[in-house]
Symmetry: C2
Subunit: 345 residues, 2 copies
């Protein structure tokens, strides 16, 4: 009394179950006559094959499902990436399961297990944990995993990562070129690999310019707007504040911009942010950023995954997705000679 089955169709069409299977799967070795009768029965009963059941017996054992584990399907970076994966999957008739990790390593394991029980053909993971060795026992040998946004440890898989170090270096070099000597770095959780790379790029640019590292100008473990805003306020309560900020993530960038607004320093302090965000060009001054390309990252990850699913072998590959500096104004402000006066206002 539930959905009609292949057997129901066979009975209605007066053919064997196997003939229905052939028609449904588009095999050509069925006479036109029988095929038509089967099709008529399919239409009349509104038969829809149960692909979960077919996968059980099918030789390739594919579920035509992939799973994507992201930081948060609701944030702009993750959701752009998700959309790009969907588009690649769609051309192949593959469905996409998603889950949000919220920087929780535990959740990463849980979801890897859940999607394994669903027999996803492959996984795309933006790791929240620092060690993916657990995947060895969690996923099957022949289930490919592609890592995106952050590198993996302890498990072989293709890897799609933005050029975080060089992007950050370029950002800070840009500030140096505009005359800045005291450049602060506002970073995300220090345990996040991308945050570390961006920090590393910052240090490299300072070294390159022969500038000393001032630990007081480096604030880490900022993960949301509020934290970034208050860290910036604190920075500008100091006697000798920086003339420029390099922020390592868009929520941090926005938090810093908010603080500068409150302090009325938004036209006095230069800012370059890592990762672009909507409307950055409409702020005053418009925000200079090192833009990532989440859609390209998603597309690249999906294509790599499907190549592996289709049987590609060989050592894990690294795909480096270039970042690009977008000059909009905030990063081109010269160092203010009178920051303390401005603050006094």
């Amino acid at each position: 009394m539930g959905r009609p089955t292949m057997n129901d169709v066979a009975r209605h069409a007066g053919v064997s179950l196997k003939t229905v299977s052939r028609v449904v799967n588009g095999e050509t070795s069925v006479s036109a006559d029988l095929a038509a009768r089967v099709q008529a029965a399919v239409d009349m009963l509104h038969y829809r094959p149960n692909i979960g059941a077919s996968m059980l017996r099918r030789a390739d054992r594919r579920t035509r499902t992939i799973a994507v584990l992201l930081e948060d399907v609701g944030n702009p970076f993750s959701s752009s990436l998700h959309r790009a994966v969907e588009d690649e999957a769609r051309t192949r008739g593959v469905q996409v399961l998603t889950g949000s990790l919220d920087e929780d390593p535990q959740r990463e394991r849980e979801l890897a297990r859940v999607f394994t029980m669903r027999r996803a053909d492959g996984l795309i993971i933006a790791p929240a944990s620092t060690d993916q060795a657990y995947l060895a026992t969690e996923v099957q040998q022949d289930t490919p995993v592609v890592f995106v946004d952050r590198p993996a440890n302890g498990f072989p898989g293709d890897c799609v990562i933005a050029t975080n170090v060089t992007g950050a270096t370029e950002a800070v070099r840009h500030l140096v070129a505009h005359g800045h000597r005291r450049i602060a770095h506002l970073g995300d959780y220090a345990r996040i690999p991308t945050a570390r790379s961006r920090h590393q790029g910052y240090l490299a640019a300072l070294a390159e310019a022969g500038l000393a590292v001032e630990p007081d100008l480096i604030v880490q473990d900022l993960h949301d707007e509020a934290a970034a805003e208050s860290a910036t306020m604190t920075l500008y309560a100091r006697p000798d504040p920086p003339t420029a900020l390099f922020t390592s993530q868009n929520l941090v960038t926005v938090g810093a911009v908010r603080a500068l607004r409150r302090l009325r320093l938004h036209r006095a302090v230069a800012v370059v942010g890592f990762d672009d965000f909507p409307l950055a060009d409409l702020l005053e001054p418009a925000v200079t950023v090192v833009a990532q390309d989440p859609a390209l990252m998603g597309r690249t990850a999906a294509r790599a995954l499907f190549e592996r699913i289709d049987g590609a072998t060989g050592a894990p590959r690294e795909f480096w997705i270039p970042t690009s500096l977008i000059r909009r104004g905030s990063g081109e402000l010269p160092p203010s000679r009178s920051l303390r006066d401005a603050i006094a206002l």
Copy 2:
């Protein structure tokens, strides 16, 4: 040579397959001794149940999967909604399949069919088409469908919709209260139900204020920033332009703001937008909006769906999600007496 099966576990533990099934499913009627042996074998073989296979024979025939059809999983509205659905699903151990419709009715049907073949336990659809009668033959009687953001036609299902008409009326009433008499409406594709409702709300507010409808001040079928920007430019090339804009969607709002910037009218023309967007509060002037609550819409839709999946019967319900006017500055600008002079600049 693939994944270990329940049979492999049974052999290793020296018990029957059914005993393994009991342990794996947490049934208590197994002696501690056997349960421990089974668990040991599970751990040693890294056994993971194939829930696709179990669903085939299980009495409730649930896949513990729901499908969500959205406009575009990459846009802020859809992705916030998606995230809220995920959170509800997670508490129930249910996985979420998603798909983007891109305003394509054909795609809506396709995806409904695909997810039916996956035997999703229920569907959440933000309709792209105007008629959902096709669902009658596409989904099973007992597969609940909940519609979100836009109403359904021709198919019974709970419906979760923002108060578009009253929200739009409130927006325009707000502009009227600030002295505006010539208020333009920039709307999305006229075929989109939410766009029509917002247009209707606009008309209601004008009528309430005793203002005549000026067809020249109504521009429809704007779906992206570029279209909205050029429509706004055109509007201000007219001899007698409006002193305020009511924009019906956030891309349209942003396009209009861009145009006003270019015309240097952003402090002269009042703007209220429908639907909030990130950083609206950081623009100058900050943008007054009628905010929707996509997360609440997603949560409400998911809860309604799970109630139906859990057997709730009764007539389709309507859940009206309230909008809220957020005053930020752009909507509180008074009518400019010298718009033409300002434009002349």
